[in-house]
Symmetry: C2
Subunit: 334 residues, 2 copies
Amino acid sequence: MKSITIKEVADLAGVSIKTVSRVLNREPHVRKNTVDAVLSAVETLNYRPNLAARALASSRSYLIGLYYDNESIGYIAEMQYGSMVACRNQGRHLLVEQLGGAVTSRDELHAQFSLVRIDGAVLTPPLCDRQDILQVLEELGIAYVRIAPSDQFERAPYVYMDDRLAAFEMTQHLQSLGHTRIGFIRGDSAHSATALRYAGFTEAMQQAGLTVQPHWVPSGNFSFRSGVGAAERLLGLEDRPTAIFASNDDMALGVMAVANRMHLRLPQDLSVAGFDDAPIAQVVWPQLTTIRQPVAQMAAAAVEILISGGGAADSLVRRLDFELVVRGSTAPPG
Amino acid sequence: MKSITIKEVADLAGVSIKTVSRVLNREPHVRKNTVDAVLSAVETLNYRPNLAARALASSRSYLIGLYYDNESIGYIAEMQYGSMVACRNQGRHLLVEQLGGAVTSRDELHAQFSLVRIDGAVLTPPLCDRQDILQVLEELGIAYVRIAPSDQFERAPYVYMDDRLAAFEMTQHLQSLGHTRIGFIRGDSAHSATALRYAGFTEAMQQAGLTVQPHWVPSGNFSFRSGVGAAERLLGLEDRPTAIFASNDDMALGVMAVANRMHLRLPQDLSVAGFDDAPIAQVVWPQLTTIRQPVAQMAAAAVEILISGGGAADSLVRRLDFELVVRGSTAPPG
DNA sequence: ATGAAAGCGCTAACAC
DNA sequence: GTGTTAGCGCTTTCAT
């Protein structure tokens, strides 16, 4: 499987290999004629540069690493899709690695990042907040972009969406339907999104002059089961809410399960809203009103920042827009 | 970011770089003493070989590619997880690429596989049956392992699970609960699994002396919506079945949605069974009885075959075991 | 059992 | 604008 090298292309085009290299890397100062000759030689020979050789010579690998440690399979998959497409568009390739409990010591992290010299790393939550990882990457001089980090915003480029505003708008949606007794299920307090979404909720409630009853704001941990628990508490109350806004879809599904079991009709007897737009949201009946996160776009933006290699300071932070998706699970009370 | 090279290790260990290379590659004919000296030098310098250099010199890349084109996000994610872990265990890294409608021409496929010279490819369904891809890989001399291919079994190594037997056992499970009127929803006929699962179903029915009513065997396409359609037909019948076996979970959920809407109680009025054990299966109420596919294990096995580089002919095919997962959605009729 | 030398295919630095 | 030369860090081949 002898493959074509730059030398053969140079010979065919009647130029030196350096010129071929120039053309391939889109360097300036090459005559149009020469460029054409080289490109046509590339074409006829069906030449593809050898990535390993390139990497060795230029100490760039043309590989971008996506690192995750997240139980939500759909979230990761969408991240991967977004970053993969962005990589492809930029002539890069995507390396995917899970960085779980197993890889924790500094040495292991070093090994992880030294073996393949990726050109840049995309860190998804919750890895984006792991100090040890950030530090190792900085020590190794590997560029990284964080997705939805929760602090140290100055430290490195990042992309995010406005969780607070999204929760605010969802709450307003419920209010606009006529709900005043609105329950809210908080998520895992370790996630930064939890505080933001809760803030958006309370803000909308206050702005509408509605009280946030403490017993209408149970805490879950983003799991289906925790949604069930929270819903049992909420729906067991005498003055139970007419709408429940769960801060993610899994918990919202827990609420729906409990409501079904209690023979509450959805959405007449109870409106339910979620957050994430997980695939399941369209599968349940009624379909779940939720917030669509621009997950794939965030990943793509991260890759783009990485490849553009810094650039202007204002391009180092990218906010992407969410979308309020109204489906059948929310309706006027009564 | 000057990193440590093999030269420095050799100097510290007092040997030549070739000897270091031997130790690192576990080549024979090195004295125990020398090995120890090298390893300790590696340790103290915290040396990591440069993948690009290795790849260039040895024309191996230490990269495994996982290729997919599948709408089921959970399936892919699990595949990725399985192959990633296997890669990590073998000192390889995983490259993930979607090969959708966009990449179709022979030239594009060539480009796709020539740019990064992966050591091997894992082809997931439905890519495992794409002739053009197989051919390009063969032309380029890239080893590949197919997951659950539907034909040309002699052509290359593959891993699979026994869909027919799984469907057979699920049908027997329903029969053992006392069901005799069992509906079956077929999947997309383009998928090889469809015929296999249907065969398992009919076989179990015949073996139990039960008739397979043609109007009890509607076809879907593996989507939730198609499950809804099929269920509407089945449950609208006068002599409707007491149990429905949908050939994947998404369609089973469609059945459950229709049953709920018709105020049928699950599982008393209707037993529902699925196939796949998607995450959703545990989220719905009642939880879905289904078949757990060894998705991650199949991917891991594929990577292992790839890395072991062929070996004995009988190691080129690996069958992995499914698991019948009985949950709340199936029960005796009545 | 170990080492010296010659590349792998490309880019960087410098000539011209 | 274009070419020449010297590596990048490793493995391979062939000596010893």
